[in-house]
Amino acid sequence: MTTQDFIQIILFFALLIGLTPLLGNFMFKVFTGSKHIMSPVFGWLEKLTYRSSGIDPDEETNWKSYTFSLLMFNFIGFLFVFLIQLFQAQLPLNPANLPNVSWHSAFNTSVSFMTNTNWQGYSGETTLSYFVQMIGLTVQNFVSAATGIAVLLALIRGLARKTTDKLGNFWTDLTRSTLYVLLPLSIIFAVVLVGQGVVQNFKSYDTVQTLQGASQVIPMGPAASQIAIKQLGTNGGGFFNANSAHPFENPTPFSNFLEMLAILLIPAALTFTYGKMVGSTRQGWTIFKAMLILLVLGLVISLYAEYSTNPIFGNLHLMEGKETRLGITNSVLWSTATTAASNGSVNAMHDSLSPLTGMVAMINLMLGEIIFGGVGAGLYGMVIFIIITVFIAGLMVGRTPEYLGKKIQKFEVQMAIIAVLAPNIVILLFAAWASVSAPGLASLNNSGPHGLSEILYAYASAAGNNGSAFAGLNANTVFYNLTIAIGMMIGRFGIIIPVMAIAGSMGMKKITPSSAGTFHTDNWLFIGLLIAVILIVGGLTHFPALSLGPIVEHLLMNNGITF
């Protein structure tokens, strides 16, 4: 690694740490309904939204109706995206005259964008019209991220309030997070990206003569606006198939740096908002630190693996599949961030990462996308692990476990277990099925442990609502489209519903004031404990499968055998 690599990594984390309290504090104001700098700009629009849809923004609901609103909203979003894909040939803004999408691919894609996964079994420029991309997918990019924030807000209110069943208003939370957080940030970011050379137009595809004299189709489209939100909203679904490895999505080292930062920005800042809303910024920073340590840990292993040389590659670094314009460090930093944060956009092909780097990416997915994770989703997933950690270790101080003064009892443990189980069921059962069934195996491009990694990665990505792919796997088949879609739904709502139930039950509880006898959840000891529980529980679940995939591949590579 060069000095520049180190400087860039340090600059990246310094900016992330510095922006966290700034944006976090702004979001705190937005979500608590205080005045903030964006209220004069979009305040009228917020009011108009409520008036036109007949919503009383101050009317709060209990967890059940909050969850019901959320599910209905998501279902309608899904249905809309599903239908416009089936009929895109008849719809406007389709200059490339793309045909209607197959039912299973449309089903997969609409589930994918509703669940903030943005798994793309299709190739953007050859499958979807501008209309579907803009009205369907980009809208879902916004509202799926806002849905994640809404669930988090309900959970925070459950933790911070006492003896109430009121957790806020889903429509208000949805409107505010979209209008004041996602929209302004995306607009600014999109403009910057356009400045860097990202395309934003409605032109038909260009056909050009290359230097070799061949003709090449250059796809066009309103890319910048979708890229901004796909990075910020941890969506990750690229406008083009190559995602951010495509020069029109990610033209310069500066755009690359900003896009990487955008992946982690909102999830990181939400930890600060969380701390403020539960009444202790220390609690927020504790979570931030735990996430940061796990991220850096993965990054160090990945960088080590990528910079290790191996005789079978002629003692050179593994450059195949890397973003050659940007180099190894930028490829690895991106791969670590995008898998940790449930984003799933890529600037290098994960299939080509060295086995250990690929494993780190996979572990990031398998741990449940809690290392910053999806917008809102990462943090509420982390709270699930906090509940489990507090329950296991909290007893050791001689009190029944409590978090933020709330007793953790049977119901919370039940729900937390369901939330941990849901994504793991998807990963293990579907991957096991795919690895022994004909339709599962038919899609593999690689043999041996690498093939198994591709299957594992696909379902881990679905369950974690990440959306990145290990490529190498032809996932646009009925088998994969359906199983992955089901996996994405279980991975999303199998966590949201128990989390909402926990929020409801926590809200009804009293708050035990903190004292010297309280199990403290805001110090380094707890950070260590939390990380240990995450790694042990997550690791123990997936170690057998990982050892047959990337671990054995790594060992074989050291013996000179590759796949």
């Binding site: 270790a393 443990v413 039940q414 123990l540």
Partner: protein, 692 residues
């Protein structure tokens, strides 16, 4: 006292019974209550089936047999831990119950007396007990007064007075009347006395799990499901890998190996010991002579963070003591001491006696006989609010010496045409400010001085409160004293807060306030007027000497009637919860090593090529002898760790009154890190033994 009923950890008789019970507990109807161990039992059964089928098909596998045997041992060890805890608890309770089983009761049917079996008594029956009778069941004295020997339940040999009305009316079944006659109304249904309820709490089969125990079993069952998934999907990944290695499907994992892996991963240690931990917590309470009437109470005890403590008996010794004589101008301290002693010679109150003793200790003034002095003792009355002596001096004049409250003495002086000086007033208010009780001594028409009566704070109690503070527990002193006095004693004893001039209603209100603020409150009380507060408190300990109403209202009864017991109960509760947490952490941390034993063993042949030793053997960091010995070692370790931890489950983890953070750090180092490292060592040692 608290150790008298200690039963050695593995008493031979108890152990023999427990071994027998471990087999009885194999009954699936009982096993299903413990899901983790139930899964192990199913695994053992399936493995045994595989062995038997193997014998019939002529390919007997001694490896499978070994696995089956050790899996059965795992189940039996878990059952044994519960059985031994139960046995100890029952032995403890049986010694309490013994007396009652053969007791006959003299039931009153109208005016007639009928002799029936004690076990047939119903609530509301009235029985009569005379000297020599054993009281047949829990009840309340409705008529008469008697001295009762309660040594059967308290171990205290001195008899106690039980009388109708007032705060000493409750009697406990199994105790013995040693004088007089009392009529008792039975207050508990047959089989539902305190001791019966206590026994139910230590009997595994009938025992209700406590809330935290239920939550914990859900957690470990959840982990079990996760590991079940991880193990159940493994054959599919193996099948893929075998095909990729060019190996036949017949080399896929066998059922016994999969079961061995599963049993090693699921939290069998805590699953096996959870019930024993709960029972032995009850048992430890019983050893301290406290009977809990619900399992929930002992967990709440660990959570309590506000303790309401009665001043008298808990914080101070029962009585005030004279500590100083303060004469007024013109009177020597000896004169004052002499007069004070004289006035107290016939005063049998503890305060009076302390004055006599103080005068003797300080000025060597010997006690005299009242009648030799021609003196008459004037006892304290509620009207006069003073006591003293009238005596004739040698010149025949009658002198009146009085001691009493400043108000009473002022009236007395004025009536004798004397003058109550400003100096006296100053001394009195100064003492009151210090939290002491001033007792003014006067002779005829003049004040001699003031006796400093002081509440004596119990030795070591301040230290105790400091420890409680460190544990995050707030102490509130309850007293009927006025604010000034209460404040001074509170400061001396080091309590965090106090309630002066507290009425029972005040107590109840305070408990509600604390609870509304999210606190859990513990208190100890005895009187009927304490009953509402005892019922409201999260931990209400009724003293055994108290009324039946109080005993019904609380969720624990302290047989020793010792107010400081509250603190011990909190410690028992905390220790119970800590033990649960420590063993859960240990159990989960153990899994790391087991993976490193089993995964390389089962995956040895994958991608091996010609050498037969695949790359995953690199994970065999313990260098275990063979794949079979590795798997077996892990299973054996998993089984015997349960037995090795039984003493810890029964005794509880070492408990020290320290802050939450200090306790956590300590337990984490021992049970967290210990839990990761111990199995690496244990499995390696077992592997060496197997391969010898």
């Amino acid at each position: 006292m608290s150790t008298k009923q200690n039963i050695s950890l593995f008493n031979r008789k108890l152990a023999a019974q427990a071994v027998k019970d471990s087999f009885i507990k194999l009954n699936p109807a009982l096993m299903i209550k413990n899901p983790v161990i139930f899964i192990v039992a199913i695994g053992s059964f399936l493995t045994t089936l595989v062995v038997i089928i193997g014998i019939f098909q002529g390919n007997f596998s001694s490896f499978n047999l070994n696995i089956a045997i050790w899996l059965w041992f795992t189940v039996l060890f878990a059952n044994f831990s519960e059985a031994i805890a139960e046995g100890r608890g029952k032995a403890q309770a049986d010694s309490l119950r013994k007396n009652r089983t053969q007791t006959m009761a003299r039931k009153m049917a109208g005016k007639q007396e009928v002799l029936i079996n004690a076990t047939e008594l119903k609530k509301g029956d009235v029985v009569v007990c005379e000297a020599g009778d054993v009281i047949p069941s829990d009840g309340e004295v409705i008529e008469g007064i008697a001295s009762v020997d309660e040594s059967a339940i308290t171990g205290e040999s001195a008899p106690v007075i039980r009388e109708s009305g007032g705060d000493r009316s409750a009697v406990t079944g199994g105790t013995k009347v040693i004088s007089d006659q009392i009529f008792i109304r039975i207050t508990s249904e047959p089989g539902n006395t305190f001791i019966d309820r206590m026994i139910a709490l230590v009997e595994g089969a009938k025992r209700q799990k406590t809330p935290n125990e239920i939550a914990l079993s859900i957690l470990i069952s959840g982990l079990t499901i996760i590991f079940l998934l991880a193990v159940a999907t493994l054959p599919a990944f193996f099948s893929y890998s075998l095909a990729a290695s060019g190996l036949p499907e017949s080399q896929n994992l066998t059922l016994p190996v999969l079961i061995a892996l599963l049993v090693c991963l699921i939290p069998t240690t805590i699953g096996g010991l959870l019930s024993a931990i709960g029972i032995s917590g009850m048992d430890r309470l019983l050893q301290r002579n406290v009977i809990a009437t619900s399992g929930r109470a002992i967990e709440a005890a660990g959570d309590v963070d506000v303790l309401l403590l009665d001043k008298t008996g808990t914080i101070t010794l029962g009585n005030r003591m004279a500590t100083n004589f303060i004469p007024v101008e013109g009177v020597t301290v000896e004169e004052l001491a002499d007069a004070a002693q004289l006035s107290s010679l016939s005063d049998e109150t503890p305060e009076g006696r302390s004055i006599v003793v103080l005068a003797k200790d300080q000025f060597n003034i010997r006690g005299r006989e009242v009648h030799q002095l021609n003196a008459t003792f004037i006892p304290f009355t509620a009207q006069s609010k003073m006591s003293g002596v009238d005596f004739k001096s040698e010149d025949g004049v009658v002198h009146q010496i009085r001691k009493g409250s400043s108000e009473a003495i002022r009236t007395f002086i004025h009536n004798n045409n004397g003058f109550y000086t400003q100096q006296t007033h100053n001394i009195v208010s100064e003492l009151a400010k210090q939290g002491a009780t001033p007792l003014v001594v006067a002779e005829d028409n003049r004040v001699l001085g003031v006796i400093h009566l002081k509440d004596i704070v119990k030795g070591g109690i301040k230290q105790r409160f400091a420890e409680l503070r460190k544990m995050g527990i707030k102490t509130v002193m309850i007293t009927g004293d006025n604010h000034l006095t209460a404040a001074a004693i509170a400061a001396e004893a080091g309590v965090d807060d106090f309630m002066a001039e507290a009425t029972p209603e005040d107590k109840l209100r305070r408990i509600r306030e604390e609870q509304a603020n999210g606190h859990l409150v513990g208190m100890i009380g005895d009187g009927t007027n304490d009953a509402p507060a005892l019922a409201q408190a999260d931990i209400g300990i009724a003293m055994n000497t108290g009324t039946q109403a109080a005993r019904e209202a609380g969720n624990m009864v302290d047989l020793d009637s010792n107010p400081t017991k509250l603190i011990e109960v909190v410690e028992v509760g905390k220790q119970l919860l800590m033990t649960r947490g420590a063993l859960t952490t240990f159990s989960i941390a153990n899994d790391v090593a087991k993976y490193f034993a089993i995964i390389p063993a089962i995956a040895l042949s994958l991608y091996a090529g010609k050498s037969g030793i695949g790359p995953l053997s690199a994970l065999n960091i313990m260098h275990l002898g063979s794949p079979q010995s590795a798997i077996l070692s892990a299973v054996i370790f998993n089984a015997i760790i349960i037995v090795m931890l039984i003493p810890l489950a029964l005794k509880g983890v070492k408990y020290k009154p320290v802050s939450a953070n200090a306790a956590l750090t300590r337990n984490l180092v021992i049970y967290g890190f210990g839990g990761i490292i111990a199995p690496f060592i244990g499995i390696k040692l077992i592997d060496i033994l197997i391969n010898m």
